[in-house]
């Protein structure tokens, strides 16, 4: 690559990186500064860095509870979504049966409805079943919310796997159940990683259903916890930023763990 082209490409990439990472870096800097310091200069470097804000947020602002609740709800939802979604997708992609496409269409068509449409009826259903204001209720709602997209992503991946693989496994002596666990699911690891990351990030940040379906302080998730810090008359910007930094740690861990598989999943089929 000629040096001029190379320089231009690097410049463009640097600008984009600054554009994309700028807000994150700014929030990270704010998380280490106090609110009075921030009011004096919005963009100054944290000097001194107030690391003590993190234990303060964790222990004194009830972040430990919010964080644990989020972790319980989201991890359970993602686990159920992955297993149930993969099974459903495998079934829809691999087996020919009557109404296959109709079931697929009905599942997928729920994506087209904005969540606001369903929220009142969901609220009523959860109240009727005694699941309102509970983590189990919120987990079930999250599973229902993300299942169509999960099935859509995994179904298209399973459908691309050659049928010979399944025939070979059948001849090797494996049942359909065993083929799912020992052949299909391991091969679909990139697609599964994609759904895990997407679902985790979406649900970790989910606010609308959480704010409607959870009111009890003991059951609040992180997005609700952060919202609580925003007062009616004044906002503790510094503490909000600290809370946000705590909130994104699991997302970064999940992304770092699954990112290689995610890229494989995104590019599957792109090259021969």
């Amino acid at each position: 690559m000629p040096i001029v082209t190379r320089t231009l490409v690097l410049l463009a990439l640097s600008l984009y990186t600054a554009f994309a990472a700028g807000p994150f870096v700014w929030a990270a800097m704010l998380s280490l500064r106090t609110t009075p310091e921030i009011h004096l200069d919005h963009f100054a470097f944290p000097n001194p860095a107030h690391w003590e804000k993190f234990p303060d947020a964790w222990f004194n602002s009830n972040y430990a509870t919010y964080f644990t609740n989020s972790l319980q709800v989201v991890v359970t939802a993602v686990l159920v979504l992955t297993i149930v979604g993969a099974m459903a997708a495998h079934c829809l992609a691999r087996y020919r049966f009557r109404l296959n496409r109709i079931i697929y269409f009905i599942l997928f068509s729920t994506i087209i409805f904005p969540p606001q449409i369903t929220i009142i009826s969901l609220f009523q259903i959860l109240v009727n079943y005694g699941l309102y204001n509970s983590k189990v209720g919120l987990t079930l709602v999250y599973v229902a919310l993300q299942l169509p997209l999960t099935i859509y992503i995994l179904e298209s991946f399973f459908a691309r796997l050659p049928a010979d693989l399944f025939d070979a496994a059948r001849i090797d002596g494996y049942s359909d159940w065993e083929i799912f666990w020992k052949v299909s699911l391991p091969i679909a690891a990139p697609a599964v990683a994609t759904t895990v990351i997407l679902n985790f990030i979406l649900l970790w940040n989910e606010f609308l259903f959480a704010v409607v379906l959870i009111t009890d302080e003991a059951n609040r998730t992180l997005p609700l916890g952060i919202q609580r810090i925003i007062g009616d008359t004044q906002e503790d910007i510094g503490m909000i930023a600290t809370g946000l930094m705590i909130a994104i740690v699991p997302v970064i861990i999940i992304y770092a763990f699954f990112s290689e598989k995610l890229i494989q999943g995104m590019t599957a089929g792109a090259v021969k």
Partner: protein
């Protein structure tokens, strides 16, 4: 080793207009290498998949070693199959691919280790055992697929066009490996291909299929030299047999045919006497047609115009038009030829090697057909 018997096997797919396989009956003996040969869509793969247990059987009887297995699941038929796409498990190493079928059968770990090691050594895969399929060449993948079948010690081996994805050179060498494998194991093998060279070189017997039915079964040379019908005659051989429309005349006791304005008399052993006016098809293989009169006892001269010449080095294929007969004749000649396109030449056909087929396309000189 096993005996596989297909009795009037039929497969009808839901909402299909015609059966994919209809009344296929084949007896495959101990140690037979039966090749199912035919064009795309003739039902050969469907037949193989029914034997494997991967397709349900709509009608007919399938038995292995005398046991009725129509309803027996694939895993309980004790068969192994090599697929066209290799069908290797991409997330497993070569070792795991080879051992996968054995693990399911609760074979002791030491025995699995021994079998996998032996098969890998036999197929030259020992150094690749820790690799995954994507890190192997096409030939190596095919050998792993073969190894996965061999390691199981199955009763019957099934091959579904296993060489189709290989390049020409690799195909020849792998063909040799499969032939050697059959000689060494002496196992019953059923092999599907559309490649007649594979069929002729590998098979102890060939079953030629057309439109879901058996067209002919026999040894490779038998089906080549004695095609039961015009389909087999036109399918086997490269180029295939010349098939010329003809009409019986009454000049020589029913053995004289008119091809266009030409009249030729066949030896009596090549066709039974037929009433004058009967429409038949005259078949002559290209190797029995030559631009040189080789002193054939029955060398019949066809005057024709050269329309295409294919020089292959060791031999030359001459495509010529017969003029008023409205037919094309292909001749195979050793070495090069001196004439060019548009030249009028004489091609000599050895009528003692001619075949005659009736109006329905069935061979007339054969007294019995092995169907």
């Amino acid at each position: 080793m096993a005996i596989v018997r297909l009795e009037r096997l039929t497969k009808i797919y839901e909402r299909a207009e015609a059966p994919a396989v209809k009344d296929v009956s084949i007896d495959i003996g101990h140690g037979d290498f039966m090749v199912l040969l035919g064009p795309s869509g003739c039902g050969k793969t469907t037949t193989l998949r029914m034997i494997a247990g991967l397709e349900s059987i709509s009608d007919g009887i399938l038995s292995i070693d005398g046991n009725f297995v129509n309803e027996v699941p694939a895993k309980d038929r004790d068969i192994a199959m090599v697929f066209q796409s290799y069908a290797l498990y991409p997330h497993m190493t070569v070792w795991d691919n080879l051992a996968f079928g054995l693990k399911r059968r609760s074979i002791p770990r030491e025995e699995i280790e021994r079998r996998v090691t032996n098969v890998a050594a036999t197929l030259g895969l020992s150094e690749f055992l820790r690799r995954k399929p994507h890190a192997l060449s096409g030939g190596q993948r095919q050998r792993v697929a073969l190894g996965r079948a061999i390691v199981r010690h199955p009763k019957v081996f099934l091959f579904d066009e296993p060489l189709s994805n290989l390049d020409a050179a690799l195909r020849v060498s792998t063909r040799g490996e499969i032939a050697a494998l059959h000689r060494r194991l002496g196992a019953t093998m059923i092999y599907v291909t559309h490649d007649q060279v594979e069929a002729m070189t590998l098979g102890t017997r060939i079953c030629i299929m057309n439109k879901g039915r058996v067209a002919q079964i026999g040894t490779p040379l038998d089906v080549y030299h004695n095609p039961a019908n015009t389909f087999v005659a036109g399918f086997l051989g490269n180029p295939p047999m010349n098939l010329l429309p003809a009409v019986v005349t009454d000049d020589e006791g029913g053995c004289t045919l008119a091809v266009g304005s030409l009249k030729l008399t066949l030896p009596p052993q090549r066709m039974p006497p037929l009433p004058a006016g009967t429409t038949v098809t005259l078949g002559i293989r290209p190797e029995h047609v030559s631009p040189h009169d080789r002193g054939y006892l029955q060398g019949f001269p066809f005057s024709c115009e050269v329309v295409q010449i294919e020089r292959l080095g060791a031999e030359t294929l001459i495509f010529a038009e017969l003029g008023d007969a409205g037919a094309r004749l292909v001749a195979r000649s050793g070495g090069d030829v001196a004439f060019g396109l548009g030249d009028r030449i004489t091609l000599y056909a050895d009528l003692s090697a001619a075949h005659v087929f009736d109006g329905a396309g069935n061979a007339l000189h054969l007294q019995t057909q092995s169907r």
